[in-house]
Homo-oligomer: 341 residues x 2
């Protein structure tokens, strides 16, 4: 396939959710590669958008604050984009339980808005959707390939898979080229760590950096896989540059599945701070727990040549160093919400 | 399991979409069985609700016109219901292509409204959801069991599967007992035949009754399975009366898969009117065609003891006789929409 380094030079690229965790890392890389980048973000408080995420590159891209639920706005913004990286979403499972309709609005309705905008105003574009491994729910067997049945365990997982399916239908039926990456647990610089409702790994890293106690549920033997954000960005770049993945869902999983207790031990060791305590499962968490999970990423390896490059230890080291340097920007920055207990 | 004839006597039962095709047949049967029935229907023009569907039993049940998208209304109406048969939905694939957001609103948002109403106001109820085999999309192999991957080919199929998953999550996480029946092509009295946007079988029957030409696409060798509505009602009754199916999706498929050309030949023969013509596939239909499809219903047979009883020939005979007698009520009755060409 084309080297992304060549593919993106001079391309007009949109990143929705581009001030968030993965979106901003992707936007930064695209700017480095010489792409003409527009970042679209709603900057809804408590979500992942953070001005500091684009620190130092603000004058090398266009920032457009907008909500992708707004049809007329999106009809305009999609025009002329060669590639659209579609990362805008509500990612909190906990929030989806409290307010399922807002989750539906952002993760389903907004995706239809974007895709309808493309269908009618830019059918030649390519859309890469940020899916999630959460759609699988509790796995039948490990590792989990794309052939396993989808069985989400919460409303957020359901809405995310509906959003994914829309992309595949618009690819198959309307010819708006699209694919979905089912991301496992992603970590790295620029992740939201103001509260603990958007995935545990960023929160654990914050606790370690602040020399606080990390609580893990049960005996800590549940296994997960992790992908460093630079590797995740590489997967998006490859998907956006290739037509081989059109209409496909591709797992993006880590190379080293690891138990929670080993992960946290490694984190505390790398950080040189923090400590770990095992606590009993809270009932409401146990109800949506899926046991151990890790992905089979052989499909994306064969279709796009993607494999993760950054080891967990190295990735944690880089991430801890980033938050040590910029912690204040991530716990009480602009648009900041309350800090969870 | 309990004989439904005994289970439903004196039970308080709600049927959403209860003036529609399957809902009204179900409501009629429940009244016969001695249940206390409330029918909830939005009577949106062009959808399947039809006053004549409850002809003769209006004084033996309660009719409440309401839209299940209305949270406060549903919060009230779900209270005290032992079983809720949830059949309200937007069932036109063609309409979902033209207006995906309305489809989302009815098939996703409204389902969350109903389930939230149950969770907070009647968590002890049982909900049986009308799912669809359309969620499978183009099958990998035949017959199609519940183990096949979901891969809808249009927005309606996506929203229907999201609606189904919500029910399973509310069962698993909130203890609101629920299951989903993935219905194949259902036919019989009281189906909408005013236009051809809600499934082809009702439309074919109308054309035969009116002695018109039935067009089938391609060479007519594509295979489907069909279930007569009385058998479908029996599946709903069994699912509502049993806890063995909680949290499950169950195919409801026909016993005699048949090619379109053989189906239409049988229909013309049974009706003694109408004729068949093969026409080339319209491009926009071909884009969402799924080839041959028929369901494996062995799971519901083992879990609920359900098997279809009415042969295709007998079912078509009864259906044709019904529409011969009541045709005017179904092509220009109250709430009627335009008749398609």
């Amino acid at each position: 396939m084309t080297d992304p380094a060549d593919f993106y030079r001079g391309r007009r690229v949109m990143v929705t959710g581009g001030m968030g965790f993965i979106g901003s890392n992707l936007a930064r890389r695209l700017v480095e590669l010489g792409a003409k980048v527009i970042v679209v973000d709603s900057l809804i408080p408590e979500y992942g958008g953070n001005h500091f995420n684009l620190d130092g590159i603000e004058d090398r891209l266009t920032l457009n604050v907008a909500d992708i639920r707004q049809q007329s706005t999106m009809n305009y913004l999609v025009q002329g984009r060669d590639v659209i990286f579609n990362l805008a979403g509500q990612v909190s499972h906990i929030d989806s339980i409290r307010d399922p309709q807002t989750d539906l609005d952002i993760n389903c309705r907004a995706q239809l808005v974007l895709l309808e905008a493309c269908r009618h105003n830019n059918p030649a574009t390519k859309v890469v959707y940020a899916g999630t491994r959460q759609v699988y729910g509790r796995p039948d067997s490990l590792p989990v390939s794309e052939r396993q049945l989808v069985r989400p365990t919460d409303v957020n997982g359901i809405n995310k898979v509906a959003g994914e399916y829309y992309h595949l239908v618009y690819n198959d039926v309307y010819g708006v080229r699209a694919c979905s990456l089912r991301l496992t647990n992603i970590y790295g610089p620029r992740q939201l760590i103001r509260h603990n409702r958007q995935g545990f790994i960023g929160w654990f890293i914050r606790l370690a950096v602040e020399d606080r106690e990390i609580e893990i549920y049960g005996d800590g033997t549940q296994v997960r896989d992790f992908v460093y954000v630079d590797d995740t960005v590489d997967a998006f770049l490859r998907a956006g540059a290739s037509d081989a993945c059109n209409g496909m869902t591709l797992n993006v999983g880590g190379a080293q599945p690891i138990a929670h207790r080993d992960l946290t031990a490694l984190l505390v060791q790398v950080a040189g701070s923090g400590r770990v305590r095992l606590v009993p499962w809270p009932a409401e968490k146990k109800a949506i727990d899926i046991g151990s999970f890790y992905s089979d990423s052989s499909l994306i390896a064969s279709v796009l040549g993607w494999t993760p490059k950054v080891t967990l230890e190295d990735g944690l080291r880089r991430t801890v160093a980033f938050y040590r340097q910029h912690l204040a920007r991530y716990i009480d920055g602009p648009g900041g919400g309350p800090i969870a207990p």
